[in-house]
Assembly symmetry: D2
Amino acid sequence: MTGQPALFPRLAEAAGEVWRAYTRHPFVLQLASGDLPEACFRHYLVQDYLFLIHFARAWGLAVYKSDRIDEMRRAQRLVAATLDVEIGLHVDYCRGWGLSETAMASEPEAPATIAYTRFVLDRGLAGDRLDLEVALAPCIVGYAEIAAERVNDAATRLAGNRYREWLEMYAGPEYQDLAREAAAALDEQFARRGGEGRFPSLATAFATAARLEADFWQMGLEAKR
Amino acid sequence: MTGQPALFPRLAEAAGEVWRAYTRHPFVLQLASGDLPEACFRHYLVQDYLFLIHFARAWGLAVYKSDRIDEMRRAQRLVAATLDVEIGLHVDYCRGWGLSETAMASEPEAPATIAYTRFVLDRGLAGDRLDLEVALAPCIVGYAEIAAERVNDAATRLAGNRYREWLEMYAGPEYQDLAREAAAALDEQFARRGGEGRFPSLATAFATAARLEADFWQMGLEAKR
Amino acid sequence: MTGQPALFPRLAEAAGEVWRAYTRHPFVLQLASGDLPEACFRHYLVQDYLFLIHFARAWGLAVYKSDRIDEMRRAQRLVAATLDVEIGLHVDYCRGWGLSETAMASEPEAPATIAYTRFVLDRGLAGDRLDLEVALAPCIVGYAEIAAERVNDAATRLAGNRYREWLEMYAGPEYQDLAREAAAALDEQFARRGGEGRFPSLATAFATAARLEADFWQMGLEAKR
Amino acid sequence: MTGQPALFPRLAEAAGEVWRAYTRHPFVLQLASGDLPEACFRHYLVQDYLFLIHFARAWGLAVYKSDRIDEMRRAQRLVAATLDVEIGLHVDYCRGWGLSETAMASEPEAPATIAYTRFVLDRGLAGDRLDLEVALAPCIVGYAEIAAERVNDAATRLAGNRYREWLEMYAGPEYQDLAREAAAALDEQFARRGGEGRFPSLATAFATAARLEADFWQMGLEAKR
């Protein structure tokens, strides 16, 4: 496993417009420019909290689906990162936006949240661990690409932007490393469990996942103000 | 298993407004009165075709999740009913609406289709067979209730209604029997695998499934004309 | 999919001695020569009945794990072949050996039955459908190879052999066709879902499954007389 | 959740002789008296290492099957306890017996190891989290009962017993607490997901799991010296 990630860029390229519709969704552009209405962001934050619970379930499933101890440990680290760190950080961050964990936990899941999370889990159970990780990649690796692209964009305004912390967290070195590790894992699994024959089916699942992630932004954007 | 079904009406009652928002959704009312735009119905038909594939997968999963041969046989009959009969009838019916199987199979799944089908499959894999059947009940048993209610409603117009065949199929004795059998199976499983302690969680899943089914109608209604 | 099956012979070759220890197990050789004690065969028949239930579950799981309708239909046919035909034939055949279905259903599963069946199901859930079918292949395709090899062997005695019917069923054209179809499906799936990178892991699972099948014969052989 | 565990003792009582055949297996009695041949213990240690990998997979599956964050965290703690602590301790301990991790990892799984671990995973996937935890209970809670019973038994010889460390670890307060927590979790889940209707099926699975655990001891006892 050396050099640049190879599978992820191929999948993103194959998704074409669908990938750009997700990574450059108006929700993201408005977030970067600071123009996103706060109600949209709050709605997104609540659903992202509910999303994280199923994200942790997906990595628990990956522990089960592992063939080797090192694979198990990587999945376990992501369960722990989600349950011990991310959910905690998210809850702290949301408190700053006036959202308590109790309030978020009692909100119903939006259809867009259900659609993406359950699609991922079904890919993971119907397929193997590579199918699972490919369905998760638009989220894990995609967020890193989105944030990096935005902080380097001329239209982005960091000074005085109330969403700056969000952008800088995902553009920051820690998250970028995590995403790079996830992209490298895709290559490692594609070499060991894949082969070109699988590419069309993986590309279809990746594109569907990207489409469902775009719907997730759209759900935020359409939040009642 | 004698007498009236018990669990299904309790679940529907617990879902309250959510249940009525699904069973008396404008899509259904307009279908019964004949006022539903054809584009809406066509969009629904295409997505229902894609839905049936995952419905068959759910009953395949139920075969795996069976404890006893009679349970397996019932699940197998529903796989066969879906793959051998329902999909075939659906394809024939859709041909009458100008939709070929090839065309339907190449359409992307709508988010509403993904959300409901994958929610059901996840309930089935995270939980046991009772969880799976409860998540399927708003569809199987619900369609029977919807059609029976509509054909007995004064606002329904059967004569000259281009959707009459659809209504009469689900209101007809064959489908009503199938739904009654599904409701009876819920009681049998609740007795054998359940207990009152499970009711709150089953009711929550049932209500979510009903909400996602209402979204499915809504997707039809919002189809571009 | 034309020409000879390719993946199955490679897997059998890679399993080497393990494969021969299964396909030429003393149980099989004694069955072919007619020397197998009846108590051994009866014990095998009972456990094979219990095995078939989990075999049907495995094909139900394959319905769930299918990507395409034609894949679903093939899995469905195998669920039906097992539940509607094989179990029925098996029950009829066992009656001739003085074993009633009720008696067989109330026997505890032998550890060897549990080990093989649950290993297959775990491969199927941890991996994808190719993993599942590879774990099933020593059974489905292996039985055809075993019976064909035995009926063509000089040491085999058909005349007056009380196990003749068993040998001729698996050596017969109907079962041989089913096995050939299963071997062809492996190739089709390896082309579409595989790649050389997967071979080592598939070969390991195949060899383990063959070892567990040999244990299944051994369990028969060790039955108390 | 107050007072004494209730479900676990009922399950053990229902298993009757099967439970005693496991908890008072000759392997355990000889281990307590110090008479167990070292080859038997070494074989057990190697297979227990392979067992722990699937034990961690089972708790990863439990993360996926959780309904609530607190349930997820408990499963996550058990994944971590297994992968970060138990496997490490086991590897250290085995080194003292001349067994390296590399050597253990390259041993084939014994049929008894496969039978118990895959039975547990299948119960967990076919059923719900209560089914999974009940199948695990003979291991987690059983080991605590076995060790406590042995250290309080007159026939046990701790002084000069080369297996003393093993006995004292499982009889020690830390492991006893973990087992009590696991038994309490069974009650909590039986209240929330259960009901008397489930008891017969849970009792059957528990007894099968206990039987497979007894086979695991037997495999150790039969190790070639």
